[in-house]
């Protein structure tokens, strides 16, 4: 809008409602002849009034109900929103953000499902070696625990046996535990045939190996599950 007439709104309405004197109305019409903004506004309001007159019965019927004064706090709330229609949009955006925030908080408390599932993907080149005792024939190793694919939720007890009369092997074995990304998550040198892992591992699939003097003798696997609450 570029028209800079003072009290323009009042003048437009006074003209439409025939509240101007004849000279005032003529002067205003002359202004309208040179002002595209006022002309457009007048055309719009004239048409609007004509349409409202046509629909007067309908509109009037709605008035008693609408004009009924609201009381106290409720009226203030209603007025606040009625005069600021954009508030609904802002309120909607704020509500969405708030809900999003709470959902994010809930999800943070849970194990992210995608990461959790990824921890159970098998590692192909170790998978193919699971359960095999290498140098079989000349290394009488018998693994008792954990069984291949055994599930754990807490501490893990490793146990194996070597024939007593086996003379070739003297000295400790190296126990290694790897996750499914082949990260070494635990290692221990074990003199006896058993080892108790008290460390809590994250849920997932794990491979464990027994090495002797740098040579892998056995590959096993087990699962750590999320403990039930």
């Amino acid at each position: 809008m570029t028209c800079e007439m003072t009290h323009r709104e009042q003048r437009l309405d006074d003209f439409l409602l025939r509240k101007l004197s004849e000279p005032e109305a003529e002067a205003f019409e002359i202004h309208v002849f040179g002002c595209a903004d006022c002309l457009q506004e007048l055309r719009m309001r004239e048409q609007m009034i004509m349409l409202m007159q046509e629909e007067r019965a309908t509109v009037s019927a709605a008035i008693p109900r609408l004009a009924k004064p609201r009381e106290g706090f409720l009226r203030k709330i209603a007025d606040f929103f009625s005069l600021r229609p954009n508030v609904w949009i802002y309120a909607g955006v704020a509500a969405t953000l708030l809900v999003g925030f709470f959902i994010a908080q809930l999800l943070r408390r849970q194990e992210p499902p995608d990461i959790y599932a990824a921890n159970f993907v098998e590692l192909p080149h170790l998978e193919s070696r699971v359960g095999q005792a290498f140098r079989s024939g000349d290394f009488p190793l018998s693994v008792i625990s954990p069984q291949i694919g055994e599930n754990f939720t807490g501490e893990i007890f490793f146990r194996w046996e070597i024939k007593k009369d086996e003379k070739k092997f003297s000295g400790p074995l190296e126990l290694k535990i790897l996750d499914n990304r082949e990260n070494l998550v635990h290692t221990a040198t074990v003199e006896s045939g058993q080892y108790n892992l008290k460390e809590n591992l994250a849920p997932g699939i794990y491979y464990w190996t027994l090495d002797y003097q740098g040579e892998t003798l056995y590959v096993g696997k087990f699962f750590v599950k999320k403990p039930k609450k």
């Binding site: 002849f33 040179g34 055309r43 004009a67």
Partner: protein
């Protein structure tokens, strides 16, 4: 009359066709608006009166006796001519005199007149749609203001709202109506076509 308006008149007086078209482009809409709202007329009367106004404006401007300095503005002159022609039409109608010439309006003029009325129809259609979509509380203030013709303070008393809030509500309601109208470009039509018609036909005034 402002300098640029005086220059436009001088160009018209020298017979410059482009200046006439410029004049029509500028004043077609207000002239048609005044005729339409004064006469509440149909397409036939609109095009005939518009043609009369057009001729009278050009004849007036081309007179040697026309003195631009006597007029506050060009729109004041055009408004005066339009007003006189409308009065003439009413007088003739009252006396049942024949007001218009025997020659039927050209097809171009008829089309241009109908175009203006169609434009109004389109405006009405858009506004009707906007009114239906308007929340009752906004429709209510429009009704109180423009049908019951209540001043703002009386509306406030009736609605239980302070005056500034009533004004805000009216302002927003009108804004919604205006937004509906902006879908349609109000373009000058009839006078541009009238000018082209007369220039093409080589009619002398």
């Amino acid at each position: 009359m402002r300098d640029e308006q005086q220059r436009l008149v001088q160009r018209i007086q020298t017979g410059e066709a482009e200046a006439e078209q410029e004049l029509f482009r500028q004043y077609a809409q207000p002239v048609l608006w005044k005729i339409t709202r004064s006469l509440k007329t149909d397409a036939q009367n609109l095009k005939d009166i518009a043609a009369e106004v057009y001729l009278a404006i050009l004849q007036g401007l081309r007179k040697e006796s026309f003195a631009p300095e006597k007029w506050d503005s060009l729109e004041a002159f055009i408004w005066g001519v339009t007003q006189n022609k409308i009065r003439d039409w009413f007088k003739a109608k009252k006396r049942e005199h024949k007001y218009f010439h025997d020659d039927p309006p050209s097809e171009e003029i008829a089309t241009a007149s109908e175009e203006y009325l169609l434009e109004n129809e389109e405006l009405g259609r858009l506004l009707r749609k906007a009114l239906r979509a308007l929340a009752p509380k906004y429709k209510e203030v429009l009704e109180l203001r423009y049908l019951q013709e209540l001043p703002v303070h009386e509306m406030g008393a009736q609605l239980g709202l302070p005056g500034p809030r009533v004004s805000e509500r009216i302002h927003y309601a009108l804004k919604c109506m205006r937004a509906a109208c902006e879908k349609m470009r109000l373009s000058p039509s009839i006078f541009g076509l009238l000018a082209l018609f007369y220039l093409r036909e080589g009619m002398s005034l």
